[in-house]
Symmetry: C2
């Protein structure tokens, strides 16, 4: 299941991407328009800022804004930051690899074999989608 954090983060990014100018948008506006708890959204946007997706401006007229164009923002990167590993098991993860305590032979493991394919096909989807591709306007 996709976490609410990821869902809200994606919606917020999409909201920012569909702005016509690059003026900062307040948290409260995004929260209201996208039906997200403002406090929760606050923490999500903060993490997107710390990972280089968003910039922020304080004070009156402040808010959050995209640091890159929507075309430059790959879903692969967004998903890794918001949701974490793309793989369903750590033993097939590219960025979060871990061995399984139980499995004696990874290569012979049927779960491994299946989940490797799932990872690849999911990655393929993320690689083919930028923020530009998933917004309506």
């Amino acid at each position: 299941m996709l976490s609410k954090k990821t869902k809200y983060g994606l919606k917020a990014l999409a909201y920012l991407a569909s702005q016509k100018d690059k003026k900062p948008v307040q948290i409260s506006e995004i929260a209201e328009k996208e039906n997200i708890s403002q406090k929760f959204l606050e923490s999500i946007l903060l993490s997107l800022r710390k990972t280089g997706f968003l910039g922020s401006k304080k004070g009156k007229g402040g808010g959050y804004y995209l640091l890159k164009t929507p075309e430059e923002i790959s879903m692969t990167d967004v998903m890794r930051v918001l949701e974490g590993p793309i793989s369903m098991v750590p033993c097939v993860s590219l960025n979060f690899y871990e061995t399984c305590d139980d499995c004696p032979d990874e290569q012979a493991c049927s779960v491994h074999k299946l989940m490797l394919q799932v990872r690849d096909s999911t990655l393929e989807v993320y690689r083919n989608n930028t923020l530009r591709d998933i917004i309506s306007k």
Copy 2:
């Protein structure tokens, strides 16, 4: 993340599929060979029996066995029974569909758009794999 239930269930199915004859295999044997808590495995095999994947035989010489050949067992069905929805959000689920409370327009939703593609590509993988395809032997 894949649940342990699914992981163990898949391993148990694979173990049964790689038996040379069709004799029932005891829970204790599978649990030991695949490093699974026996009691936990018991409940998993039970659910696989109730959903028509396995048959069981009681008494001495009893155990679990596959009801179909490995070629006939699709990962799509196995995953739905063990893990539940294949989709990452209910609003793109074929078998477990639910509307989102927040989303006013599903078609315009960027999360929906992305997750629809992920669902399709994941389903494609499951459709292309039977139990036969993921066992070593």
